[in-house]
């Protein structure tokens, strides 16, 4: 087993708020408030993180190497220079993917046992 694989497994499973945070950063750098908004929007308000919870997650994800603070700034017209932007690292991407695969296998198992209906073909 490679050291990469070991480090990914070591960080699993993720808590739902951590997974949401990593997924929110998957399509680009964001500051804290944008992460909150993204999570709230994508879950139709079902997941509402507080500022304390979010920055505790950010701190832990940064310490584990899942995200980094980036110096790159967006368009100055859209930028608020007091904000700090965060970026998903390659490790963070692999960990999020591994967690989603883990959840997917559980969902597949539940489908096989007819606990939830099979997905209708698109």
């Amino acid at each position: 087993m490679s050291s990469h694989r070991r480090s990914v497994d070591h960080l699993l499973p993720l808590t739902p708020p951590m997974l949401h945070t990593l997924v929110a950063l998957a399509d680009g750098d964001k500051h804290g408030y944008a992460i909150l908004k993204e999570i709230s929007r994508r879950t139709d308000g079902a997941v509402l993180l507080s500022a304390g919870t979010l920055y505790a997650l950010v701190r832990r994800a940064t310490a584990d190497g899942l995200i980094v603070e980036t110096d790159e700034r967006p368009d100055p017209a859209l930028d608020d220079e007091r904000r700090r932007y965060y970026r998903l690292t390659s490790l963070g991407r692999r960990v999020a993917a591994a967690e989603l695969a883990r959840l997917e296998s559980i969902v597949d198992m539940a489908r096989a046992k007819k606990l939830i209906p099979r997905r209708s073909p698109a």
Binding site: Y33, L48, S50, A51, G52, Y55, A56, E81, R82, R84
Partner: protein, 245 residues
Amino acid sequence: MRPKQGPPSSRSDRLFRALLRAFPFDFRTDHEREMAQTFRAQLHEARREGTVAAILRLWLEAIRDAFTTAPREHLAILRQDIEYALRALWRAPVFASAAVLTLAIGVSAVVAVVAIINAFMFRPLAVERPHELMSISTRDGHGTLPHGLSFLDLQDYRSQSAVFTDLLGYAPRTGALDAGGGAERITFEMVTDNYFSLLGVVRGFFPQQLGAEEAWVDDGGGDADGATSACSNSIKPLRPLTPMA
């Protein structure tokens, strides 16, 4: 170019920053400004929605963070510090051993001193009404320090004084005790016959009449049932008795 200035500090901003004080110092140093900024934006949005419930929910979450997330962060930082310290000690075993030894000696010394101070100055004697006990000593031309009374003086005080309920006397002695396994040097006390009754403690050893006094000898906690006890120092051989209940 002048940096952008934040909005003037409002009451809600000050209240939120007060709640943030529950978080560890390092955490606040890194994230306080951003958290306040995020909370301000969330509050602004909740006010725009115009529902009291949204504003209330936001404040409840901020309070909950102060009582749940903040302690968790304190623990996380503590754990991180401990892990770092252990790793550092593991890398330098000689230093670690010296540090542990120094700490052990220091802690033991402090514990011993505190135990002695506690026993002599703070913890009451294990007798009935210890606060009523007084110690009487003599100060005369035999020395600069107070010293004990003679047995005759004690008898006089005991029979003539109306100040005290009663008086007892004791005198430490050393001697040898042979409990069957060879003579053993012991420390014991000669005490007056009212010693145990006045102190309200249960007598547990071997009394023997010595004129107006009785002596009890403790062999150090050993089981001396049936043993033939003997004491030097001009005290007659002791007669083992069954301890009183």
